[in-house]
Symmetry: C2
Subunit: 322 residues, 2 copies
């Protein structure tokens, strides 16, 4: 970890600035609770519904902040990123609103729905082989060609943007005791941990068992090198970022993990109680609360429901027979 | 129409009273809008998301108000109704919260999901033959046995309760020009029309082509007698109620109708833009806006998204190939 990275991790002021920049573009998402869900989980749950955010995920916050920062710096021109999912769509939308085009490197085996989402928002898709190296190389080519890179999570503008969801949650429910978010690359949880520093809540994060690279990395004291994710939570397959890992080490109370079957059951439970479809990544937090009464029981818990980008027939398939 | 019914149609004060009674039990549902949906529909749309209401539909408002009125009157005891859908589940939940049991007469061919919903909320299901007469007779038997009847829509307490959604919508977006709701038995639209009387908006309602009994009734000047509904919008198959019809005649600008295919397309569009699953009944309003640019184009339109009680696999089935 070098001094440059150390220096550019955002602080709470950056998150407030991000909020001021993006608040007219993002949707002030509702915080929902449900007494019957509370009964089932034995705690009081406040769900910040980023599945109802524009582009269907919290990712629109970070993407909007990154684009707004470029505008402030007078940097015109198109942007580029790699993403197999929500960040690509979110950046495409944020870029289009600002009159730019986002170029999104996507593995050639990405889901048709996610490819369509990027294109629907005016993004341009560049396919690559389904490996991390291929993604990075393809993105480098685009950047060499003059496009401005916007990393999906290991970027201070992105972290600050994602932190704005927790800021809004604090404003709406200031009496929370715990906050919990899913953890993929770590953009959401690091932004949340920074945003909540002066609030006095404990922040937890959740990974799927099949992509628990952060738990492994915390154990080893450094980010693991070999990592082959295997989980239905397609939004959480990324390797934790350098800045994100640093914030998690310093400010996240504990990273939990849940099985794919726990995730399936939690997707079903959430729909039964709230009539809301959530993608597997979002269901991890509900599953973790169910699995850890020793942490959550009797508490006032804020959860960030990260996204709802799953086709209803895929949802039905995943929850069948559960 | 007799003087008794004339006298017990609620007015705006009744709706404010209902709101005061139920506001701690019901969820203050979010009002969502989306620039891309607006672009598609060529108007500014504000969606009052009653699909996110407790029990998954606006019906919980009316049911909660009816139960609260019983409590105020000192009437203890269990309640009974007939419903093939959302009202039964809503009444079951409202009754349970108040320590009562709701007995719900349901046609024996009701969807398993809707039967399960009533039971999950502690309601007791009484099956009957799938005809209107059988429903009414079975309910009469229950009432003779001492249960307190709560009609699904032709009841001043229900109408007042349903009107509270429009009240909240007005408080959140006071500058609307039009409001539009689905129309089945007429509980929602009559409550909405009364709630908005002093607001200066035009109220529209929508029926499916296959259950356009209100349009026929308006044409004939009295409620039609023969009516065999045939539509995928299962929440809108009821015959318009007497009180409801009177309010609609006096205060609803126009009742529109849409085809089942229009409904299917609107369900898909709403999901694509807002990532929210809505049941066919709710999609009627989006379809009507698409079909009638001469009414809605360029306007600020409030829509009440009535419910989200559809299983994702049924949703996928209905929208397949659209």
């Amino acid at each position: 970890m070098n001094a440059g990275i150390e220096a550019d991790i955002p602080d709470i002021a950056d998150i407030h600035l991000a909020h001021a920049r993006i608040r007219s573009a993002v949707r002030l998402t509702p915080v929902l609770n449900d007494p019957l869900l509370d009964q089932e989980l034995d705690c009081k749950l406040y769900c910040k519904c980023e599945n109802l955010q524009r582009s269907g995920a919290f990712k629109f916050r970070g993407a909007s902040n990154a684009i707004a920062c470029l505008r402030e710096e007078g940097l015109t021109g198109d942007v580029a990123t790699h993403s197999s999912g929500n960040h690509g769509a979110a950046l495409a939308l944020a870029a289009r609103i600002d009159g730019r085009t986002a170029h999104v490197v996507m593995p050639e085996n990405s889901s048709p729905m996610k490819i369509e989402a990027v294109r629907n928002y005016g993004g341009q898709v560049h396919f690559c082989a389904p490996t991390n190296d291929a993604r990075v190389q393809e993105l480098e080519k685009l950047v060499e060609g003059g496009l401005i890179p916007v990393h999906p999570y290991d970027d201070p503008r992105i972290i600050a943007g994602q932190g704005t969801a927790a800021l809004e949650l604090e404003q709406e429910v200031p009496t929370l005791e715990l906050v919990i978010t899913p953890l993929g690359g770590g953009g959401l949880v690091s932004g949340t941990a920074i945003a909540t520093r002066s609030w006095g809540v404990d922040v937890y994060a959740v990974e799927p068992d099949g992509a628990a690279d952060t738990i492994d990395s915390l154990r080893q004291g450094r980010i693991v090198e070999h990592f082959a994710p295997d989980t239905i939570a397609d939004g959480l397959r990324a390797l934790v970022g350098i800045r994100n890992f640093k914030v998690i080490r310093e400010s996240v109370r504990q990273v939990l993990s849940v099985s794919d079957n726990d995730i399936r059951r939690a997707m079903l439970l959430f729909w039964q109680k709230l009539k809301i479809l959530i993608e597997p990544s979002s269901a991890t937090v509900i599953a973790a609360i169910q699995n850890h009464p020793e942490i959550f029981s009797g508490k006032k818990v804020g959860v960030i429901i990260s996204g709802g980008n799953i086709h209803p027939s895929d949802w039905a398939e995943l929850t069948r027979g559960i």
